[in-house]
């Protein structure tokens, strides 16, 4: 732990973010896409925690508390939507959910 710097944490957060982003772009299953979105969010909270730790302020850490709280609620809603969508259409593939397109 002695020789880890801010950069290490930020690079890790960046890697997590890119993994999440590529998942969002590549995968078609809405459930996986949703998990990847959460991964992107987590990456940003990791960066916030790192900033908070290395700048010796509590701002970022408190911010993260709020983000996690809201994210928990958001996950509940999002998963419920996906379940409802599946009941309606019997599919959660983003390719097949394109009725809004003309």
């Amino acid at each position: 732990m002695e020789n880890t710097t801010l950069s290490h944490h930020l690079v890790l957060a960046g890697i997590l973010f890119v993994i999440g982003l590529s998942g969002v772009l590549i995968r078609r299953n809405l459930l996986v896409v949703y998990m990847c979105l959460e991964l992107m969010l987590t990456a940003s909270t990791l960066a916030l925690v790192a900033f908070s730790r290395f700048n010796n302020t509590m701002d970022g850490a408190i911010f993260v508390f709020f983000i996690i709280t809201v994210a928990a609620a958001e996950v509940a809603v999002g998963l419920a939507l996906i379940v409802a969508l599946f009941r309606q259409r019997q599919t959660v593939s983003s390719e097949k959910l394109n009725t809004l397109c003309d």
């Binding site: 982003l21 969002v24 772009l25 959910l97 394109n98 009725t99 809004l100 397109c101 003309d102």
Partner: protein, 609 residues
Amino acid sequence: MNSVSLLHWILFLPLGAAAFSAFFLRRHGAFAAWFSTLTAFIIAGLALTILTQTSEDIKWHYELGKIGGISLGFGYLIDAHARLMLFVVSFVAAWIHLFSVGYMKDDGARGRFFAGLSIFMFSILGIVVADNLLMTFIFWELVGFSSYMLIAHYFDTDFAAEASKKAFITNRIGDLGFILGIALCLKLYGTLDFAELKLQAGSAVPIALGLLLMCGFLGKSAQFPLHVWLTDAMAGPTPVSALIHAATMVAAGVYFMARISFLLAPEVLDWMAISGAGMAALAGFCALAQTDIKKSLAYSTLAHLGIMGCAIGLGHPELAVLHMAMHAFFKATLFLGAGSVIHGCHHEQDMLKMGGLLKKMPITAATFIAATLSNCAVPFFAGWYSKDAIIEASWHGGHFIVFGFLALAAVATCLYSGRMIRLVFMGAPNSKAATHAHESPWTMTLPISVLGIVYAIGAGFAANILIPHSSLQVVEKSLNAMAFHLTSPATIVGAVALILGYLSFRFYGLFVGQDSLQKISPRTYQLLEYRWMDTLYNWYIDKVQRRFAELIVFLDLLVINGLAVRWIAGGTFAALGHVSNAIFHRGQARANAIWITLGSLLFIWFLLR
């Protein structure tokens, strides 16, 4: 209780019943049904009291406020037309309520349904008693709303949902003209009160005023070219069709036109006479090519509405109101009878699959046939008095084209009536449903017996006993002026029509389980199915109106919003937006995500550069 407070009760009782049912009785269907029916009968009783106890015109006005020097009021004006209308509406509607108790027995949403019936009553009674144009308009819109709600009762079927939209939108088109007419009236005369308007309107009324006010009538009373909604409106439950076709909605237009007939210029009247008679003939023949019993009846209503519009155009609004009253009795019976048949045949509506019901459902059959004879204007039945008087009036007035159309309509009426009776009640059952048909319970047979046997047959010659005398004063005068002779043109037309009707009855017995006309001349049948009007409207909306709207949107977004307001900075992006909308917007969530990512990367690169 004086007559004004009686009118308060008549008008607001249904509103109260509707509110109570809608808020508290949604889950108590059986109670809502009887509650609503009870209020309907109380209203009918109160209306009868008004008619028997008072003979003078009733006037009452309460000023709600003034806007720009124009008084906006709420008031009652009960003249002879209003008396007859009040009686017909409340009386017929009460029996339809009772019928619904039986017909809707197994429906899950009875609370909503009966609340809808009550609010429908409230709306139409408001039009009947209204003493000014604005109040009429408000209740006019309420009629539109309540019909929408009731037609869409089975809203989970596409057919009902679309029919209700069609009815509502078509009516809205007519109402645009109506409200412009009200504005013009205000500009010309400075008042909206019927009594004051009558005093002020001289002999030279502008054509535009009549035309605009007529637009409302075209929509509500389903006159050409806004008649397309009525035949689809039978997607609602059968009692609703009966209510719309007989007592409430379409009658409102005719009644309103009769009420403001002094505001109609001669040119407007001529148009109404010609178009009404023309539509009567067309719709009459179209009824021959419908297999759905309710749809066939709907075309029959269109024909009769055409005749009513024509009567107003001929300068005999009192005959139009009389025909509306007689029509209400026999058409309500026909629709309720059709409802009873549908109920008995386990929701089979195809006439070709019925047959032989005379023995299975004797009461329904007897009342249906009585009402049909009235519909055909058999002498001394209710329909004969009003319809033949109108045909006679067209001959006496020298409108021979109108007379020709009306004669065709009379013939068509007898033809489709003969067909209907033959297909539904005679011969052998053509399907399992018809074989196992059963007579309906008393809540359904009692209303059709009262309306059918007593009124559809007797309302004409026993009018003085069956219909309160005071409501007939106006009509009597005009009936006496049109003394009937055996050799009068209307009688000859009627006799020929009846003979043809009998021949049609025999003709449709030729082929079992098939439509004889379709068998012999499929092309004529196809033409009479009357799909081409909808095709025409669809073509117009899709190819003309929609293209025009798209052009306007394009001009607005690009030229006005983009170039003119925000000049190049805004215009460029408006144009880009159009391009990207056409190229990139493909409804794929992944594609959108990729574009957002690329956009963000571009933005980050731009910042870090």
